[in-house]
Amino acid sequence: MLDRDEDILKAAEDWHKAGRGVALATVVETWGSAPRPAGSSLVINDEGTFLGSVSGGCVEGAVVTEAMDVIESGKPKMLEFGVADETAWNVGLSCGGTIRVFVEKVG
């Protein structure tokens, strides 16, 4: 896939420069009909503002919540969402895919 998310990584740098806590979430693995390919990313700051997407809207809410923890603790996390997982189904990858998302703090 040709890459077009310059703005997301630029925002990560800009927000950090502006003194915000920042986390970056990246799709690292997909199975089935996941909506966004591996390498897609979402940047989140400590105010809950975010840019980009890891699933086209399905699980962003849950990722943002986890990102807050990561900004706080500084420790990276691996999240998994998919139909096999009851709670993941609740947040809803309605397309029937499974994705793993790596969340890390910037800086």
Binding site: D3, L24, T26, P37, G39
Partner: protein, 233 residues
């Protein structure tokens, strides 16, 4: 991600140079590998493959689980000639993810009515091309059939090391073009880089079919490993 890595990643992306970010997913440890440094990297084969495919992927190396995130610049297509083929080629290339620009000094050809939503530059190549930042992630196609327009454009494409250069015209037309370009100082190796007659040989007849054959050839050059590329040509 360390700030220094993020900063370098953004700088490389802004300069349209491909990089791969290698993350050890257990620990979060990361390093950034520039395409120019692939050859001396222990993950060389994997890095080269993933960049060619433009695809991020997980690999295992030395008992470590690694995620290779590929940051390849958006490919560009520069079309010299706002002709009938270009009217089919421009939207097709765009649907394949290319940033497309059409250049033709003849304003009757380069009109927004003929190319809705496609960036058009109605200038001679000498004026039009320098601001377009033609580079190694650019496919370059000359289809005007007019040497006054195509030739200077092709000379520019040689200089900028485009990953694909194609020109419309039969073998005979192309032989004459070779002579003209040589006379203007082009190297033999430059002329050999031109795909002409342009496009894969699929028996294309209509402008749309020719557009398909051109994009198929560009895709093969972009994606196939060097050996298979030779066989396809």
């Amino acid at each position: 991600m360390k700030l220094a890595i993020l900063h370098e990643l953004n700088a490389e992306r802004a300069a349209r140079r491909p990089v791969i970010l290698v993350t050890e997913t257990e620990t979060g440890e990361q390093r950034l590998v520039k395409a120019a440094d692939f050859a001396k990297d222990p993950l060389r084969a994997e890095l080269e493959k993933q960049l060619r495919m433009g695809k991020s992927a997980n690999v295992e190396a030395g008992g470590k689980k690694l995620f290779l995130n590929v940051y390849a610049p958006t490919a560009k297509l520069v079309i010299i000639g706002a002709v009938h083929i270009s009217q089919a080629l421009a939207p097709l290339a765009r649907s394949l993810g290319y940033d497309v620009t059409v250049v033709d000094p003849r304003t009757a050809f380069a009109s927004p009515e003929r190319f809705p939503d496609i960036p058009l530059v109605a200038e001679w190549p000498d004026t039009a091309l320098p601001p377009l930042n033609v580079d190694a992630y650019t496919a370059f196609v000359a289809v005007t059939h007019d040497p006054k327009i195509d030739d200077p454009a092709l000379l520019h494409a040689f200089e900028r090391n485009c990953f694909y250069i194609g020109a419309l015209g039969s073998r005979k037309t192309h032989a004459k073009r070779g002579d003209r370009l040589r006379a203007q100082g082009a190297k033999e190796s430059d002329i050999a880089r031109i795909h002409a007659p342009i496009g894969l040989a699929i028996g294309a007849v209509s402008p749309s079919e020719i557009a398909v054959s051109i994009m198929a050839e560009i895709t093969a050059v972009l994606r196939l490993p060097p050996k298979e590329k030779e066989e396809a040509a």
